[in-house]
Symmetry: C2
Subunit: 324 residues, 2 copies
């Protein structure tokens, strides 16, 4: 069966020219087009070969797997990812996995069929066993598996920073409040940094955790606050901004005021405007940098290069608000 | 130049069979395949025809054009659109147009090449002249042109509802505050409903508008509040929730309290949680219904059916918050 290359050789042109003729591109001179058409005829170059070549073209799409786009942190991330992909000529396929592994695995399947060039993903599912580490994937904020490139914020440094800021704001009994996932997650480092820094400064600290996912965050904090020793905490570092806001919402009914009685620090930096209160004091993730770096690393992988590091941890900063 | 139909006629088969041969489909009998290949040879049926047919295969992707996904209204909309498309076996290509017509037009080009099956779009650009009304497009919240199906909330009824709710809350001097776009936008109906309902009830009302886009919303409201008669408004209907929040933020420095001195109602319903204040009283758009209906109408168009209506206006509701 004649190939595109055979046609090109017979016509005395490059394969790109044959491809342009085949695709009816305007930039081909009539004379050249004629030569190519003759070669196609002579070799009985058959159509399905063309169809196949078409399919084999590298996809210019990248899939983004997120638990849900309807979340300020993820939608900010998606915004910058789309922008960075656009600059590189790639398009973004959006998938709200909704935490369903089946929906995530579908995209890995599509990736294997070369319909997408690569995947950027945030998943909290344990789908490691389904992933071939050779394919272009960059994980954000969580390790898919030990051998997949991951871009995250410096959660450990963030945890340490939160402890120091609570102490600086006057807290003597700081508490960490969060969730534990069944698979390893970078977010666990927030607690570790917090606890380690407390030990280093000789400060007593509390840790309260429930297993992920938390179905009712209000109930989570009522469980927490129902214990007298937890109500004595005068500083709270919540694992996310939404947890911080929930805590603040609940603690008021115990007659505990923020920031007078308890200082509160969240993690993420989801608030974009100063129009809604409380404006949380928070450890701000460098969302734009994380997004752009994830894309750059993925493009490098798509080009066949392996990034030097396995985990890229970008620096966080403390953004003071109204709660410390 | 021979067509697929010519090949089918000569081979004595249907065009579908030729297409299956050309695409190397397994379901074709060897005998039939041979007949088709002979006809292809005899007619000198040329590859770019095949390439074109290949392109003509229906894509399972739908492009969503949004000004930016980094906005709670748009990200909620995108969440439900992706969910509805997923149920129908379609994938979502996300494009933050950033208000750039060039980026939007790129997708119309891609649509014309059959790389996406259809487009769902929110645009505030005047790109009507570039759009062929025969292709599958559904516009959300704004008419691309008079002949493209549009799904929107009932902005006019929403404007009337806002006026009635302000009056019910005690306002005697209600004001509409918004922007004017250069092209026709459904959002203009918010003002019209408001003004008409005021006339119907015999209530005096104010209208304050600046041309879109507003570069500095803080400045917009300082302009508004610098006029004494505007400070006498005891009810404000802002064109969006974000405008309402900006107004509330600015009006405090004039010693005017919300809701004691002025009742405020926004439009959209962007707040998903009761954790951040003020919780705006607002005209809530039925985002989920708008998203799912847009997808259903688009799928109908992709199947070659024309929806019965040109504009689908879904009912809104008043959601009381802390500002009335």
């Amino acid at each position: 069966m004649a190939s595109l290359k055979d046609v090109a050789d017979l016509a005395g042109v490059g394969v790109g020219t044959v491809s342009r003729v085949v695709n009816n591109h305007v930039s081909v001179k009539p004379k050249t087009r004629e030569k190519v058409m003759e070669a196609i005829k002579a070799l009985n170059y058959i159509p399905n070969e063309v169809a196949r070549n078409f399919k084999m073209q590298r996809s210019n799409m990248v899939a983004l797997l997120l638990p849900t786009i309807w979340n300020p942190f993820f939608s900010e991330l998606a915004f910058y990812i789309e922008d960075e992909l656009d600059h590189a000529g790639f398009k973004l396929l959006l998938c709200n996995s909704g935490g369903k592994p089946s929906k995530e695995l579908y995209y890995f399947d599509v990736l294997n069929q070369n319909k997408v060039a690569g995947i950027l993903g945030i998943t909290y599912n344990d789908i490691d066993s389904s992933i071939d580490t050779q394919i272009p994937i960059v994980s954000i904020d969580r390790h898919f598996s030990k051998s997949i490139t991951c871009v995250t914020s410096d959660n450990y440094a963030g945890g340490r920073m939160a402890l120091r800021e609570l102490v600086k704001a006057g807290a003597k009994k700081p508490a960490f409040v969060g969730v534990v996932t069944s698979v390893y997650s970078e977010t666990m480092l927030r607690k570790m940094g917090f606890v380690d820094e407390a030990a280093a400064l000789g400060v007593d600290c509390l840790v309260y955790e429930e297993p992920d996912p938390v179905a009712d965050e209000g109930q989570f904090f009522r469980n927490f606050l129902n214990r007298a020793e937890h109500r004595e905490a005068d500083g709270v570092f919540a694992i996310t901004d939404m947890f911080a806001a929930q805590y603040i919402d609940q603690v008021g009914s115990y007659g505990i005021r923020v920031p007078e009685d308890v200082k509160v620090i969240g993690y993420d930096g989801i608030q974009n405007s100063a129009l809604f209160h409380p404006i949380l004091s928070t450890i701000r993730q460098p969302v734009e940098e994380m997004a752009r770096m994830s894309v750059q690393l993925l493009l490098r992988k798509i080009d066949g290069q392996e990034p030097e590091e396995l985990t890229y941890r970008l620096p966080v900063e403390f953004r003071p608000g109204e709660t410390t």
